[in-house]
Symmetry: C2
Subunit: 153 residues, 2 copies
DNA sequence: ATGCGTGCAAAGTCTTTGCAGCTTC
DNA sequence: GAAGCTGCAAAGACTTTGCACGCAT
């Protein structure tokens, strides 16, 4: 298991998979590359990814996508985000300087990204205390945006 | 909308509901009280809550439970947690000294709770910057436990 | 009296799984 | 060659919704 700051390439992914007796495939490479080139702050649901790839002429089944993103999340390659929507979103797990967190409005469902280095520091301290290795840490602030505060409901 | 540190009672809940043109009901009171008396650190899924109430002779439909916990989460009364499982868990949204966060192992699915006051401080600062009111904040650290590190897969 | 809330059953959404065939090691 | 991986279709888990009746305001 590699740390959250590994910069995965198809080669390092292949190596890690092979070490576990698993295999590199074209599908896995395409998915990894898609996340690696995703603009910072953008995150995709399984279906988003499916459609995006389809548009690019890459026909990867939804099953494979679900299987792959879950695997990559468990490996620490992707961050699994559960924000306001009722399905998971994924984004590449960036090393420290790019790591960000989310501020979500319960009324408007707006999501704001923000950075804060202390959070990773705290996480590492806590994890160390329990002997855990950190793959990812996510601070999600749930609140009400200025627009949301104006509405009664 | 009230702050995360409000200590809800059936009366304050009724007042807040009425102010919005909504209503207090026996079901809502039972659900609120159940969460209020839940041991710290315990959190329930909709189905957990349904069964627990049934055992106590309180027959509240699953639909109502889903509707109520979602409403209470939006009001900031409950925290909506998405940890390792594929369904949401709820717990009362405690004021600061009892607020806790989660350290999750991707391999064993173990969840450890921990407290850290700095996290709420950081959240409040961030929220303020954007003009948000904080209802809840959750730091989730995803990692690998010592036991998990021993297994290859 | 009004209209929100509940319970029921049905529908919906997102995700997982079994299996046959293909691909990687 | 053996075993993992993919795609398809079907199943599954959890959650939401329409509607008629009852209850809070």
């Amino acid at each position: 298991m590699t740390s959250a700051t590994t910069d995965y390439t198809p080669e390092t992914l292949r190596a890690e998979l092979n070490a576990k007796g698993w295999r590199m495939t074209p599908q896995r490479e395409v998915i990894l590359n898609t996340f690696k080139t995703l603009p910072e702050g953008e995150h995709l649901s399984a279906e988003d990814l499916y459609n995006r790839l389809k548009d690019q002429g890459e026909d990867i089944s939804l099953s494979t996508i679900y299987r792959t993103v879950k695997m990559m999340a468990r490996m620490g390659i992707l961050r699994e985000l559960e924000l306001t929507e009722d399905h998971k979103h994924y984004e590449i797990n960036q090393p420290r300087p790019h790591h960000h967190h989310h501020l979500v409005c319960v009324k408007t469902n707006t999501v704001i990204e923000f950075k804060n280095d202390k959070i990773l520091e705290i996480s590492q301290k806590v994890a160390e205390k329990y002997g855990y290795k950190v793959l990812d840490c996510q601070l999600t602030i749930i609140g009400v945006s200025p627009e949301g505060q104006r509405s009664i409901f």
